[in-house]
Point group: C2
Chain length 290, copies 2
């Protein structure tokens, strides 16, 4: 697997691939790769050749008091994983390559970026949208792969692609979980001792919501109460938000009559985790996909 460190060289590689009428796939990551990332790679390998992965710990999506400096960076292990998965190239730029001196252009998806994760992390989605647009311009992928764990991020990227007329198809892949239900996340590495066990409370809260949904409950306040009750049972958990929102607008819903997400953001000790459940009305039933 080739490691590509400059924008110019990445553009050159991608231009070649396009000229040869090949289908370019991109898996954008911040590194610290886990089975969730590798599922994206696997999906990309099925449809695209070449498949590029990018590892870029994007500073503009972290605010000053967040975990940029302590975010895990096991670059050698990451390269091994991508090589084993037969990724064709790793785009691994440094921060100055992406944000050179004088950089000042930002992309903002208004409305969607202000709610939930955006409310808890001001400026986060502006940083995400900006770097993702840049990656799309540099790699020029036909398909780009994102995990549904970051449901709001995916929605914002889809909105940006639509609004800015970008020629890329966003492929959304299911959440990958540990055997005990904890959603895969690079931040799980922060969880120590009892925290690791406590962190399963997110999944357990969503399971309770799924059970209610499948039993026919459409009242979102009722489902929300159920989630909060489960979360309250874990003393190490501090809830940031636990909401039911429309899957398109990410605005709160009263009754679940269209696809909706149950979204959780919960602090376990110093670690902030997110997770979600997608609920889709199908006739009389609610399909609930964890």
């Amino acid at each position: 697997m080739e490691t590509i460190r400059t924008v110019a060289w990445m553009k050159e590689k991608s231009r070649e691939a396009r000229q040869e009428q090949r289908i370019v796939g991109l898996v954008p990551t911040m590194g610290a790769l886990h089975a969730g990332h590798m599922a994206l790679v696997e999906r990309a390998k099925k449809h695209c050749a070449p498949v590029y992965a990018s590892i870029f710990l994007n500073p503009t999506q972290f605010s000053a008091n967040e975990d940029l400096s302590r975010y895990p960076r096991p670059i050698e292990a990451d390269i091994e994983k991508l090589t084993a998965a037969r990724v064709d190239g790793l785009f691994l730029p440094d921060a100055k390559e992406i944000y050179p001196q004088g950089f000042s252009t930002y992309v903002h998806v208004e409305g969607l970026s202000e709610r939930l994760e955006g409310k808890s992390r001001p400026g986060h989605f502006r940083g995400v949208a900006t770097v993702v647009l840049k990656l799309f311009e540099i790699v020029q992928p036909h398909f780009a792969y994102f995990g549904r764990k970051d449901a709001q991020q995916v929605r914002i990227i889809q909105q940006m692609v639509r609004d800015l007329n970008l020629d890329v198809e966003i492929v959304v892949c299911p959440i990958v979980r540990e055997p005990d239900g904890l959603a895969m996340s690079s931040r799980n590495a922060y969880l120590h001792g009892e925290e690791r066990k406590a962190a399963t409370i997110l999944h357990r809260a969503l399971e309770a919501a799924a059970t209610e949904a499948k039993a026919g409950v459409r009242d979102s306040l009722e489902v929300q109460r159920t989630m909060n009750k489960v979360l309250a049972s874990e003393p190490r958990a501090r809830v940031d938000y636990a909401e039911i929102v429309d899957a398109e607008s990410f605005e709160p819903v009263v009754r679940i009559t269209r696809p909706a997400y149950a979204l959780l953001a919960v602090h376990i000790g110093k670690t902030r985790l997110i997770d979600n459940l997608l609920m889709t009305p199908e006739g009389e039933e609610l399909a609930a996909e964890l």
Copy 2:
């Protein structure tokens, strides 16, 4: 000349041209075409085939109290001019095609967008950057042509292209003027009776500045005073700004030791006009390009 009204069809045309390894040129306009626009088309025709022009009166770059509703829209005359100039296609979308329901993604070049024109017209450059990025994504030009009359706009678009890693080269063309020096502008159509003559005061102020610069004056306050003196001699003129700024940062300069713009924004009656002079130090001399 083909008139193309949808994004999908424009993308299709451009994809074809690129697949045939042809060089695509784009001349983005808001219509009401004058000799300045046609000079851009001529320049594009020299390097590109196909050449596309776009006419889109972009609502997001006008604020509520501006002249969007009365902006001239002589579409039949415009089509005649473009046909005579052998433009290959006119991209002529309506507002809903560019800003469909739910549109919410904006591009913002920070810093540069807040000064001068941006200060007088809040939100203006956000609208410009957003629509220009969209046009680039839709038409996928190798070269795009802009007039230097909108010097700050050109600088902002160049910054956006650099920051977002866009694959388009911005070609900046000289200001085209009426025989009496008035810079060509679609808004000149607003000038009635005595106003038309009064409007030459912008050019006369810049000429005075050019004369001083060529005489060796490097003190920007002195040049600015000269311009203001000339402008003050015209009772119909109300100055919005008359400044000497660095051609890169658009920040005020004290001494002209690097390329600088003299920038004017002046109201003549109800019509707001802009014009500029580019000053380039060459050894002991200042080259001044009106």
